[in-house]
């Protein structure tokens, strides 16, 4: 006996008079639709633009910077009043160590990008591994891993990064590990919960019922569907990482080598001269805020693009 599809008609949503939209959405693939929504979103354009400039500056720092990064040859100019931006040879002036501000800022972008990306990758991989294991294997493994994650979460993330950085000594590597480790719980929880919700979803149940191999289900269904939220979280975490690098440097836990330019440390060294030369701390601070803003905007836009249900 055939079942008539119109025997019970689908109930009508009271406020969705336009049926065709739902129809056209189902046809597109998730990523294609996301890309189209992203392109139309001004938040994504601004965020993407900021990110593009930031990455460009970081990659081509040696070509863009007017001087060598570590050169401190203008020491005599830096005392007592630090040259201001009006000087044509030093567009943004000279810092207290006699280095060109613009050069320092440009190389600072490089440092922020490297530490931000590497630490986020550390957090992502370690967190994803823990999360997938917990979500995929379940049972005791899940309990043990999630208890561990709970312990990490009981320490506020900046404090966790501080304690790791303090234990490892002052180096860029220590910063990356510290900030990366502080991100592990976020990614672990995210991956675990998406894995669990995906594995309970109808299509995975269906795939199971059809006798598809477990590995194929995970690789073919669960992982691609977890990708979206992970990318969103990673983009947002990049913003946090860049701020945290600066915070740790501010606390004296950053890179010890004075030849490496770093925005957070530039703020520290400008801080006590803020009254006479506020721009020394102001420029790097603005750089951090704008970069973090770029990644945040992009992350939020990605979230909206990848999750059409959340759109209003």
């Amino acid at each position: 006996m055939t079942i008539a599809p119109t025997a019970t008609l689908p109930p009508e949503g009271p406020l969705s008079p336009d049926g065709p939209t739902a129809e056209s959405m189902a046809g597109e693939s998730l990523w294609k639709g996301a890309w189209q929504r992203l392109r139309r979103n001004p938040m994504a354009l601004i965020g993407g633009g900021i990110m593009a400039v930031f990455v460009f500056v970081a990659l081509f720092a040696p070509l863009l910077a007017p001087y060598e990064p570590a050169s401190t040859e203008w020491t005599e100019l830096s005392t007592p009043f630090f040259v201001q931006g009006s000087n044509s040879e030093h567009l943004l002036g000279i810092d207290r160590w006699g280095s060109d501000m613009l050069t320092q800022l440009i190389f600072g972008a490089r440092q922020s990008l490297i530490i931000g990306v590497v630490s986020t990758l550390i957090g992502l991989f370690a967190g994803a591994l823990l999360g997938t294991l917990a979500g995929g294997l379940g049972g005791k493994v899940d309990t043990v891993i999630m208890r561990f994650v709970d312990i990490l979460l009981s320490i506020p993330s900046l404090l966790l990064a501080i304690s790791i950085a303090a234990a490892m000594g002052k180096s860029s590597f220590a910063l990356m590990v510290a900030i990366g480790a502080a991100q592990i719980p976020i990614f672990a929880r995210l991956l675990r919960s998406t894995m669990l919700s995906q594995s309970r979803s109808d299509y995975v149940l269906a795939a199971n019922a059809l006798g598809l191999r477990r590995r194929n289900i995970i690789l073919g269904h669960i992982l691609p569907n977890s990708l979206g939220p992970t990318i969103v979280q990673a983009t947002l975490n990049l913003a946090t990482a860049i701020i945290e690098v600066a915070a740790l440097s501010f606390l004296g836990l950053g890179e010890d080598d004075p030849a490496v330019a770093e925005w957070g440390r530039m703020i520290v060294s400008g801080q006590d001269r803020f009254q006479i030369a506020p721009w020394l701390a102001f420029y790097p601070g603005i750089c951090i805020a704008i970069t973090a803003l770029g990644f945040t905007l992009l992350g939020e836009a990605l979230r909206e693009a990848l999750d059409p249900k959340q759109r209003r």
């Binding site: 506020p156 404090l159 913003a239 600066a246 915070a247 004296g252 009254q275 805020a289 803003l293």
Partner: protein, 334 residues
């Protein structure tokens, strides 16, 4: 409800045990001899000897852990290597300052954040909503210490409206029975001193509270704009209830649920943010003490303070969860 509370407290115990383990091994994984790294630059043979004896670093590791935990159980959280005072005493001594600043920051986040977020959520797409959302985004991305420096420069140094640093004007000499300066001023009737202490809290509180404020605004806005479209709000409309009743009882009450959780999580941010703001404003709280300990690598202080902060954070989140159980009946049963 009671079962929910007991279960929730039960969950805290393994976490705290794990944390004590983690902090214990944290000091042990420091490269080289633990006593030497604990002492850092001040390592002398006698000092190392003394520490080895004190912490039993020459003992097997499980014995060391037992010693460590039993010391913790006795309320012995070690001694500051730099300042030679018990870590617990230092923490208790510094805590009131931090609580005062944190309270001001939290008050700002809640008292300003919820109304702004509610307004923005009800008037999505309007110009004020756009302004609120954009400003809150700026609040999230500005580093706390940078904001602190800016606020201090503008309002204290340039405009001279508020004090630049410390908790109290140096010329004011009053008793501090509780060590909460504002409270002390009120108790002892020294209202000028209380007012002065309050003024000292405004800028640090503002700097510290900006990120939580921005987050509370965003969460409230998102939550309100979700709840507004819920079926039960339409039911309430269909009942012909007054707009005020619908807003309060049906929209706000549901919309605040995620906000409450967020506020609990923000306290972690506030406690760690204290390290950054207290430094800028030279406030004598746990953050500043921790900063000094980081600078000289005073590990017992770091170890102890992190444990205390984690403990406070856990208790706060426990309270938040319990209050969540009070306002959301669904939690109590599940």
């Amino acid at each position: 409800m009671l079962r929910f509370a007991v279960r929730r407290i039960g969950l805290m115990v393994p976490t705290l045990i794990g944390l004590s383990l983690l902090l214990f091994f944290w000091v042990r994984i420091l490269p080289g001899d633990p006593a030497r790294s604990l002492l850092g630059q001040r390592a002398t043979p006698e000092g190392i000897e003394r520490l080895n004896e004190l912490y039993g670093f020459d003992q097997p590791i499980w014995k060391q852990y037992v010693t460590y935990v039993s010391a913790l159980a006795r309320g012995d959280f070690g001694q500051s290597i730099d300042l030679h005072e018990p870590v617990l005493d230092a923490f208790i001594d510094k805590l009131p300052t931090t609580i005062e600043v944190t309270f001001v920051a939290l008050l700002l986040a809640v008292a300003v954040g919820i109304p702004l977020g509610y307004y923005a959520g009800r008037h999505q797409g309007g110009w004020l909503d756009t302004a609120i959302v954009s400003t809150s985004l700026l609040g999230v991305v500005t580093p706390v210490f940078f904001l602190a420096i800016l606020l201090k420069y503008v309002f204290a140094d340039q405009l001279g409206l508020l004090p630049t640093q410390g908790r109290q004007d140096a010329r004011i000499d009053v008793d501090h029975p509780t060590n909460f300066y504002v409270l002390d001023g009120l108790i002892t009737g020294e209202y000028a001193a209380a007012w002065d202490a309050l003024q000292h809290l405004i800028l640090p509180g503002l700097a510290l509270g900006t990120i939580p404020l921005a987050i509370v605004v965003r969460i409230t806005r998102a939550s309100v704009s979700d709840v507004v479209h819920e079926d039960y709000v339409r039911t309430a409309e269909a009942k012909g209830l007054y707009a005020g009743t619908i807003n309060r009882r049906h929209i706000l009450r549901n919309a605040l649920l995620p906000v409450v959780t967020t506020i609990g999580l923000q306290l972690g941010l506030l406690l760690s943010g204290a390290v950054l703001t207290e430094t800028v404003f030279a406030l004598d709280g746990i953050g500043n003490y921790l900063y000094d300990a980081i600078t000289v690598r005073d590990y017992p202080v770091l170890q102890g303070f992190i444990l205390f902060i984690a403990l406070m954070y856990s208790i706060i989140n426990l309270l938040v969860d319990l209050s969540y159980g009070l306002i959301d009946p669904r939690v109590r049963v599940s």
